[in-house]
Subunit: 145 residues, 2 copies
DNA sequence: CCCCAAGAGTTGATGTGTCAACTCTAGCCT
DNA sequence: AGGCTAGAGTTGACACATCAACTCTTGGGG
């Protein structure tokens, strides 16, 4: 296996740099316009109906503890509510509040517009196709599920 | 400005998913084989000669406070050393220790091999070209310096 | 029936990044 | 000289992710 050439490193650095800038821009937009983080946005759009915490964690592909911590913070801010899950009285159900539902809608519009502006509008169809095929190949290789 | 279609969202989700998986793989490799994080790796390879903290922060494109916190942790582990900066006796200089220099070398080899294996070897020339041109365009647009 | 093992969720410790507030030094202005 | 301000660096508070340890409930065996 050949070592990395300096062109290889330059390519890699440029790519990762662009990635960081993009993520930073989008995060700031979401924070500035909606007051939420990207993780919170993911929860809001995934939690379209009441579900169990574990179900939400699976849908997001995150660890349970990450979800639990985040839900605690979001519950404190009134975006989600833990509910009695029937059997046994443990509060294992989770659902959006009215406020959460409202935010989910506006955040989707705002974030979508930002993605379109920062990314989609500046991609040629060939670039988009190349990126899509690379992404799918990597996911298939790393996550053979 | 048109809204995001569901194909747009699917494209975006796939891309970000691949990106997260890739970063996670590389981070784990660096942690497992060298015991350092990606941020620490960046410091080790950037700090080839003694410099001021601010100079290091500029070279990395990071905030000063992030660098200060990270240096504190790395100093505690013996990878870098703060030095008297001459004038005034404040310790504003920073340099690698012998241990840090040794780690920088081996980590560069290990990390480079991982990048080649996970990324470069699985990119077609068209994909690489598309990613490079997109990255350069985004950097130029967001960071017009 | 009682105990206990498995599953679901939570919690605490630690590492990390960001923002704002702070300290220290040096240089300038009067 | 005395004081003010700008720049450099640090620190503290908080948000977040991960890991391991913990609690609570349920559903079996004995």
């Amino acid at each position: 296996m050949a070592n990395m050439s300096s062109e290889d490193w330059a390519f890699w650095d440029t790519w990762m740099r662009a990635q960081r800038l993009l993520v930073r821009e989008l995060d700031r937009g979401l924070q500035r316009d909606c007051g939420i983080s990207k993780a919170e946005f993911s929860v809001l759009v995934t939690l379209r109906r009441p579900m169990r915490v574990g179900e939400l964690a699976d849908a997001l592909g995150w660890e349970k503890s990450r979800v639990a911590h985040l839900l605690t913070r979001m519950e404190k801010r009134g975006l989600v509510a833990r509910t009695e899950d029937g059997a046994g009285g443990r509060r294992t159900g989770i659902e959006l509040t009215g406020e959460g539902r409202r935010l989910a809608g506006s955040a989707t519009r705002v974030h979508g517009a930002n993605i379109r502006r920062h990314v989609l509008d500046s991609l040629t169809p060939e670039q988009a196709a190349a990126i899509r095929s690379w992404s799918e190949a990597l996911i298939a290789r790393v996550e053979p599920s």
